[in-house]
């Protein structure tokens, strides 16, 4: 990355700069996070992530953060930028005018170091909702597909677009207050399989709980934060209807 970044600096001169206020937490020396400021070049095509890489490559090699694809699909570069959960590779520095830009780790998660947070809790929750296709009975041979019309695909497609970036968790006050809440992405991914015409599983017992869909009070910020338009708030409310109907209707529970 540095290569591209510094080359850009050389090509266009590097006169304008912008200040980054970066939250630092070094467990060996800090008891709580402190802010450090860095000036980085301000270029039209630089994302916040390019600024961070400039810091790491040229100013302070000790800054730690995660990133990989730089195209908004691996889901690793989520941070709190000026108070909002954002993908730093898809957030341009120019959005912040003259700055400064305040960069903090995602809220709602324990901070391991600097901008790196612990997300193992989400992975446990993800496994918990059985995010895989459940089939009963005979499997088809490998020469034939389970037919699925474009309409049936459309029914769950949106919920399959989740990149596990955790922005929605960070935006959800319920999760921040109560880490036991299954949370938006895990429920959206459960819905992704529930609504898949090929799936024959039943996730009612996993979702119809106080920590499941009933934990959500429909703040709706998960959906505003989601960079992939998954709309987890919708996924959850829809499952509330499902769970409620199946609870009251006599044939709801198999």
């Amino acid at each position: 990355m540095s290569a591209k970044a510094t080359r850009a600096a050389r090509l266009t001169g590097g006169e304008r700069t912008i200040t980054l206020e970066i939250s630092r937490f070094r467990p060996e020396q800090d008891s709580e996070p402190v802010f450090e400021t860095f000036d980085v070049p301000l270029r039209d095509d630089w994302a916040v992530l390019d600024g961070l890489n400039h810091v790491k490559d040229q100013l302070d090699g000790t800054l730690s953060f995660r990133w990989s694809c730089r195209m908004g699909v691996c889901g690793s570069c989520g941070m709190t930028v000026n108070g909002k959960p954002r993908l730093t590779c898809g957030t341009f520095l120019t959005e912040f005018g003259a700055g400064p830009v305040r960069i903090e780790p995602l809220k709602g998660f324990p901070v391991i170091r600097d901008l790196v947070v612990e997300i193992d809790d989400f992975l446990a929750k993800l496994s918990h909702v059985k995010p895989w296709l459940i089939r009963e009975g005979e499997e088809l041979p490998l020469t034939a597909e389970y037919a699925q019309t474009p309409e049936q695909l459309e029914a769950y497609k949106q919920y399959s677009m989740c990149i596990n970036c955790m922005l929605c968790y960070s935006a959800c006050p319920v999760y921040v207050l109560n880490p036991d809440f299954l949370g938006p992405a895990a429920i959206a991914l459960a819905q992704r399989y529930n609504l898949d015409s090929r799936d024959q599983g039943d996730r009612l017992d996993l979702l119809n709980t106080d920590e499941g869909v009933w934990g959500c009070t429909f703040v709706g910020e998960c959906t505003s934060a989601c960079p992939k338009h998954v709309d987890p708030a919708e996924a959850i409310q829809r499952y509330k209807v499902t769970a409620a109907m199946r609870s009251v209707l006599p044939w709801g529970r198999r």
Binding site: K4, A8, G72, I112, D196
Partner: protein, 577 residues
């Protein structure tokens, strides 16, 4: 003691893990990955995955397209196995829930792709790799026996007496260095695009597996074959998928002229024609770009020369329906809308055809060591990979390597605890030294940048003896300076600088083998174009390059004949029937 330890949680690694878990639930499988598996670079693949399924298509045609696309450097037995298993693997993904795009009647849809004579590329809109990886990852969650080491970085293989016994890895979060004993190891660490300055590849693609195998004494194969993709966005290197051209996009130069017609790639047609013009193979398209540049018909930008990809005539509706991600990327990262604007593009490093030398089952010459995916070279890609052949490759050979490793682990129960312990301790000392003292010399980033530009200059789309020879020297000096690279970060907690340092050394290994192999191959074939040897030379070079690490530490290159079955070397013909 782990039965099968897989280094890498991308498509190849996860497919291998499931293969082991499915064949023998009593086996212990571990997936060690330097990022959470769903962050692996497979996630970025856009266009699709090839597998014969459409009426009228045949396995032989897929094989022929692959072999001619690879300029006859493919091992034909491997290609035959590959094309036969690809449809089954893709169907397996369907059975696991992959949201493949569909025909109206509910069957899986296929699209055309560069270099393919027929429509055989399965796709999930233009996020095929994303859906494939997440489907695999979510499917692995149902197997209790798959243990994950997320964010562990493997720094070396434990090899004793020609047999692998495990790996040494550092837990990035704690800095703990641990030797993990295993009966078999599968390398599935992906490609090495980051050796170059301008690439579609993610930050993690530093060629680790190639270096791990190479240092352990296994040969690397065909390392000179680096694929440039003709259409990357300037600055970011973000890929605009070939699907954009398959859907009817045009490449035009600064005069608005569809220049590919000047390079023996056929004549322009309104609708896309398979194996013609914009749907020619990647090597030829990238080479045509350089020729246009030499004629002064490209457009200068702050990030170098570009041509334009024109999608405007497709209309907004079709763009939204077929390639929405392309639109999203252009809007979010280049601030333009392909429905109304031209997209500036240039060739960017995209894929490594070469890699760890393996047989048809992913086995390397080191007993118990396997490799699969982009890091391996089974030789189905030859001198130029066809788009959409890589995703099925990671599935087919990931599964094969998994099954072969499981079989090996069943038969070889013995372990070598002493070697594991002592090599673990050595590695621990080495890393601790790097961590504690660090160097005071040049910055890691500066060394990396110099290496990347050296490679671009010497091993880019066109190569010559002189620049390659000079690059060998530059790389040598870089290696010396890297030994004293400056390390600011002495923390054991999530020390990404230490990882960058290790990756720099890894990339220098890879760079060296690329340049040396390119120097040795005095012919032009596929992605390897020598200005001083412009012709293909089947007499001498219908053979793979095998590069070993000599005891002195320097690379030594040899040749291995290509396996031919039914397709004698011929001329590569595009745009003419």
């Amino acid at each position: 003691m782990i039965d099968v330890l897989i280094v890498g949680g991308g498509g190849a690694g996860l497919r291998a893990a499931i293969a082991v878990a499915e064949t023998d639930p009593s086996m212990t499988v571990a997936v060690v990955s330097k990022v959470y598996p769903m962050r692996s670079h497979t996630v970025s693949a856009e266009g699709g995955a090839a597998g014969v399924i459409a009426d009228g298509d045949t396995l032989d045609e897929h094989a022929y397209d692959t072999i001619s696309g690879g300029d006859w450097l493919c091992d034909q037995d491997a290609v035959e196995a590959f094309v036969a298993e690809a449809p089954r693997e893709l169907m397996r993904l369907e059975h696991w829930g992959c949201p493949w795009s569909r025909e109206r009647d509910g069957r899986v849809a296929v699209r055309p792709f560069g270099g393919m004579k027929r429509m055989r590329t399965w796709y999930a809109a233009d996020k095929t790799g994303f859906h494939l990886l997440h489907t695999l990852f979510q499917t692995t969650l149902k197997y209790q026996e798959i243990v994950r080491y997320d964010e562990w970085y493997v720094t070396s293989l434990v090899v004793d007496d020609g047999r692998v016994h495990g790996v040494v890895a550092v837990e990035i979060r704690t800095g703990r260095v641990e030797a993990i004993a295993a009966r078999t190891v599968i390398l599935a660490t992906g490609g090495c695009g980051r050796v170059f300055p301008f690439t579609t590849n993610a930050a993690i693609k530093t060629g680790d597996g190639m270096s791990l195998a190479y240092r352990a004494g296994a040969p690397l194969k065909d390392m000179e074959f680096v694929q440039y993709h003709p259409t990357g966005l300037p600055f970011t290197g973000i890929l605009i998928t070939e699907a954009a051209r398959a859907e009817g996009g045009w490449l035009i130069n600064k005069d608005g002229y569809r220049y590919l017609q000047d390079y023996d790639l056929g004549q322009p047609t309104e609708t896309p024609k398979l194996r013609s013009m914009e749907l020619g193979p990647r090597d030829r398209l990238s080479q045509a770009f350089v020729a246009e540049q030499n004629k002064g018909r490209t457009v200068e930008t702050p990030y170098g020369p570009v041509v334009y990809l024109d999608l405007r005539h497709l209309g907004e509706a079709k763009i939204e329906a077929r390639i929405p991600f392309v639109r999203e990327l252009c809007r979010s990262y280049q601030n333009l809308d392909p429905a109304t604007d031209l997209i500036p593009v240039r060739p960017v490093v995209h894929y490594m055809m070469g890699g760890v030398h393996t047989d048809l089952h992913g086995a390397t010459p080191i007993a118990g060591l396997f490799a699969a995916g982009e890091t391996a070279c089974v030789s189905i890609n030859g001198a130029n990979r066809l788009g959409s052949n890589s995703l099925p490759e990671i599935l087919v050979f990931g599964a094969r390597a998994g099954a072969a490793a499981a079989a090996f682990a069943r038969e070889h129960r013995e372990g070598e605890a002493a070697a594991v312990r002592s090599q673990g301790a050595d590695e621990q000392r080495r890393l601790r030294r790097a961590l504690e003292s660090g160097g005071t010399g040049p910055r890691i980033a500066d060394l990396r940048e110099e290496m990347q530009h050296t490679l671009e200059g010497a091993a880019g789309i066109y190569r010559t003896h002189d620049t390659l020879a000079k690059a060998v020297e530059t790389l040598e000096s870089l290696r010396e300076r890297a030994a004293d690279a400056r390390v600011d970060d002495h923390s054991t907690t999530f020390n990404t600088e230490l990882i960058s340092l290790v990756e720099l050394h890894v990339m220098l290994d890879v760079a060296e083998t690329i340049v040396t192999s390119a120097l040795n191959r005095t012919e032009s074939r596929g992605a390897h174009q020598r200005l001083d040897f412009p012709a293909r030379d089947d007499e001498r070079f219908l053979a793979h390059s095998l590069v070993h690490r000599a005891p002195s530490g320097t690379p030594s290159v040899g040749l291995l004949p290509v396996a031919l079955t039914r397709w004698p070397p011929g001329e590569r013909i595009y745009g003419r029937d």
